[in-house]
Amino acid sequence: MKELLSGNEAIARGVYEAGVRVAVGYPGTPSTEILENVEQYKEHVYCEWSPNEKVAFEVAAGACLTGARSIVTMKHVGLNVAADPLMTLTYVGAVGGIVAIVADDPGMHSSQNEQDSRQYARFAKIPLLEPSDSEEARDFLVAGMEISEKFKTPVILRTTTRISHSRSLVELHERVEHTPQGFKKDPPRFVPIPAWARPMRVRVEERLRAMIPEVSASALNRIEWANKDLGIIACGVAYQYVKEVFPEASVLKLGWPYPYPDDLIRQFAAGVKRLLVVEELDDFLEEHVKALGIACDGKNFVPNIGELSPMALRRIRAKMEGKELPQVLPVEEASKLPPRPPVLCPSCPHRAVFSALGKFDVVVTGDIGCYSLGVAAPLNRMDTILCMGAGISMAHGMKIAGEKKRVVGLVGDSTFFHSGITALLDIGYNKSAPVIIILDNRVTAMTGHQDNPGSGLTLMGEPTHEASIEEFARACGIKRVFMVDPLKYDAFIELLKNSFETPEPTVIISRSPCIVHDHSGLKPALKVNPDVCRTCKLCLKIGCPALEFTEGHVRINNLLCGGCSLCEQICPFDAIS
């Protein structure tokens, strides 16, 4: 039976079919739906959201050492967090198969950078698999388990946004069980103290060499001979664009690009007159082809910034042929259209926090989540973003550097559990005094409402302990800890004011559930009384999509308004009720 599955759904299916026992990860676009879809197989596969990718990777590693097949999922920047266990599990090696699924985001649709995570495979000296559609995503997960067990190595399965979120047809298979044999004590194998790590280090190189003949012979890599005037080496979604735009060319399609299949690359290069490497982001393949002494085109035609597309390849083709491709631009009228950027939802409690912060001349160090949208107009109330947890640690860094303004650090609840706890511990330990606001909306909202250690539910739907941010804050040594509802707006502003006047660190837990996830806080839509409204437009400064200004009047869209009352509290003339 064939089903139309996204790349992420197909990987989840592969997890089921490959007999995987343990599937863990941390949400991050475009990887999130993998574990969300594994959940449907929870009778066969244990699955969990871990607090962060490092923990997730270590959980999968522990499972793998008992002989259980395991996976860990994350977005590309998550692998940076998990790089520590990765770089040593590569020495310890695998017992049960372990595949780390890393979803890159070329073009930065939903990310703060567009790193090419393929580099991690070379860095860690482990195999890299790269599917080109959903069927391959499923197949490569299964193949990755086999490679992992055969060579006793972790494997990276790398997708990109267009693989993760495109749907294509997948033939479904049955699950094949793999029963773990249990952990078998073997310290020289599992304990990388220097004396044992040195022989492990040698084995890493031996393993890589042993894989090379296998990679060239693997069915995951193939030559599609056609016209031999031009040969193209391609992998991932770029392969599909190549097939579309260069239908006549011979293609070396690499599904298992690392360790590099040198023999296959040489054979292909020898068979074509001109060689072109088409890959998104870095020159990961091209550099190696050149190192083999083979002349090729690549980044001299193919951009290394942003994602590729059929249109990008048509431009590359035209450039190679010395032609001008007429640009298909948006119609002229499109340039006059109002931009439609993503915004905080109507009745989002975060809006009250940003609106209140707008009243103070402070520096706001922000973090990764829905509340990153607080940087945009008209709120304009976030000054920095770096990575998860940095909202807290950078506030500390600014304070100890002597920043004269008050510094406010912002993180979300899930982000606090991810990387904020250690940052707050640093503030308590090293005694700086920023104001930290934890935007606790009780769920990991930005990636589509996943549960987290504070939400009281596991990924498999079981009730569990709700981690207390308040207790964490006190344990970190913070004495001024407040739990407040930001939609009690005047009191919230008063608390901010007091906190800015205190020479002590303050943690404000701004607790109000995400209204899109938890509808219990929804109230009837509010209305503007046109007889009282003086059109001062103060309410429009909170950037609520439910507030519209048309034909000279402010009105509230009753389909969008959730009755949060922030505009009502802001209105100086009591015109909203």
Partner: protein, 194 residues
């Protein structure tokens, strides 16, 4: 771009674009075609523009298309039709919902929603099917079926048999909403044929 048919859907988060894309995919699958789709996730769902693309044919490679290649452009919101106009192939059908969603950039006064949009639409799209899908959906039983009304109009620009569309709707929507969706589809089809 070979012999694949591409449909470009655009609108704003929450308008039911992904369901419409799923029905098109199912109709193409039922007709025995290879199918690929692409959707925008993440950031764009927070009130931003949402697009979905469906491609079908004997063999589909790319999940994305070149500008100027969509056989049908179906816009759930008027301004979004203009933003995506360059994806429509010459001679392609534009289905545009007579429906306006004001972006925050307009409410906050930093941008202006275009006036005389109907005129612009006529200029941009020689083959234009422009009507109030929400009104037709209300007539069919619920305003929530506006997406399926637009799908009905979209189906007129594609070459799949009507029975296949109906089968795809039966396969995709929940049984209790089937009847209203079938009515909505018929209303959209009639609007595009008139």
């Amino acid at each position: 771009m070979n012999d694949c048919v591409s449909v470009f859907l655009t609108g704003v988060g929450g308008q039911g674009i992904l369901l419409a894309s799923e029905i098109i995919s199912n109709a193409a699958m039922l007709s025995g075609f290879d199918v690929k789709t692409n959707e925008v996730h993440g950031m764009a769902q927070r009130g931003g523009t949402v697009t979905a693309l469906v491609r079908y044919g004997p063999k589909v490679y790319s999940p994305l298309i070149c500008e100027g290649n969509a056989r049908v452009l179906c816009a759930f919101e008027m301004a979004e039709a203009i933003r995506a106009a360059h994806y429509l192939a010459p001679g392609g059908l534009a289905v545009v919902n007579q429906y306006r969603i004001i972006p925050v950039t307009v409410s906050s006064g930093s941008a202006v929603y275009p006036e005389n949009i109907q005129e612009t639409l006529r200029k941009c799209f020689p083959r234009l099917c422009y009507f109030d899908a929400t009104q037709k959906a209300i007539e069919a039983g619920t305003e929530k079926a506006a997406n399926v009304v637009l799908l009905g109009a979209t189906s007129v620009g594609l070459d799949l048999p009507e029975e296949t569309w109906l089968e795809a709707i039966r396969k995709t929507v929940k049984p209790k909403f089937l009847e209203v969706n079938l009515k909505a589809f018929a209303a959209g089809r009639a609007a595009a044929q008139s």
